[in-house]
Amino acid sequence: MLFGLFILLACQLAGEIIARGLGLPIPGPVIGIVLLFALLALQGWRKGAASAETGPVAKSADGLLANLGLVFIPAGVGISQHYQLIFDNGLALVAALVVSTVLTLMVAVGVFRLVSRLLPGEEPQP
């Protein structure tokens, strides 16, 4: 478990160093995702995919992701400092969230289906 956590932190640290060092406008943990994916691919290639999919890093990742909701809470409680901002913009917020969510679902599923159908001979879809 400790080794897995170390690898996750090391990938995030390397991501922060790359993002800030090069002045990239990308969150460090996002570069960390790319780095960890590369490490897993390397491990899978050397020792077989099963070792990358069930090794210590995967176990630590599964543990964190199973409780993903918890880590949003401290930031979310910060809403207590922004009542005024929300009340003043309530209508715009609700309209933007509802309309955008419905439209995004439709656009994403529509494009996925359209491109699937355009592909020749690739439609044994249930």
């Binding site: 943990p29 949003f72 809470i73 901002l85 969230l97 955008s100 994403a108």
Partner: protein
């Protein structure tokens, strides 16, 4: 040694990380239990319940957010490694990507900017303040990435966290009736749309409906997090 009077004890505990850390985790566990009892109804969201309860406790005890965050920052810190951890489900779904590469890339290339531009566009039209507009941009992305993006483009991170959760719940409630109404039976497409639009909460919902949908939703959540992190500064970087 004499016993500490109750008031002095409270003064000590109210400023110690121990109290707020324990309360946050305990409330979250209780909220998870409630969600389970509701049959995991998407509206009974443990994250939302915990935020509401903690805000009420802070209000009732007159505790400042800064004091609370001193304790809760140990949990907040885990946002980073939990985000990096998304590489693992992404690696596990690499075969799905190969099989459906073109539909995935097309849906991502159009869906990721659409999620940001539709929300921010509507907010601008309705005259929302700039901090609100920028906080809305990463609303379809899992909170760990969204909070980082909000910081970078000048949106309010705490507001973003709440908007992300609201979007997740909305998407999870709407997706099944909407897809049924549109008569779309392709569970890969349905799941991908759910994960792209409403990240982890949509993915959890997709897994309850269909395992193929769940796998594609998890994939969409990770890919949209990456795509939005790259696109948001390009689109909104001008404002900061």
């Amino acid at each position: 040694m004499t016993a500490t009077p109750p008031f002095d004890l409270w003064v000590y505990l109210a400023t110690s990380p121990l109290l707020w850390l324990t309360l946050t985790i305990g409330t979250f566990l209780a909220a998870q239990w409630v969600a389970k009892r509701s049959g995991f109804h998407p509206v009974v969201n443990p994250v939302l319940i915990t935020i509401v309860v903690m805000v009420l406790i802070l209000r009732l005890t007159g505790t400042s957010y800064d004091t609370y965050f001193d304790g809760a920052q140990f949990i907040h810190f885990l946002l980073g490694p939990a985000t990096v951890a998304l590489a693992v489900p992404l690696y596990r779904s690499r075969h799905l990507v190969k099989a459906k590469a073109l539909p995935i890339l097309a849906s991502l290339a159009i869906g990721a900017p659409f999620a940001m531009l539709s929300a921010t566009g509507i907010a601008v039209l309705l005259g929302a303040a700039p901090a609100i507009v920028l906080a809305l941009a990463p609303k379809s992305v899992t909170a760990g990435i969204a909070v980082g993006i909000a910081n970078q483009i000048g949106g309010e991170p705490a507001l973003t966290a709440v908007l992300v959760i609201a979007t997740g719940i909305l998407g999870a409630v709407i997706v099944t009736p909407l897809m049924n109404a549109l008569k779309i039976k392709d569970y890969a497409a349905r799941g991908f749309a759910a994960g792209l639009t409403s990240h982890g909460i949509g993915t959890a919902r997709a897994f309850q409906v269909n395992s193929v949908a769940g796998a594609f939703a998890g994939l969409a959540m990770a890919l949209n997090g990456l795509a939005t992190a790259f696109l948001a500064p390009l689109i909104f970087g001008l404002f900061t």
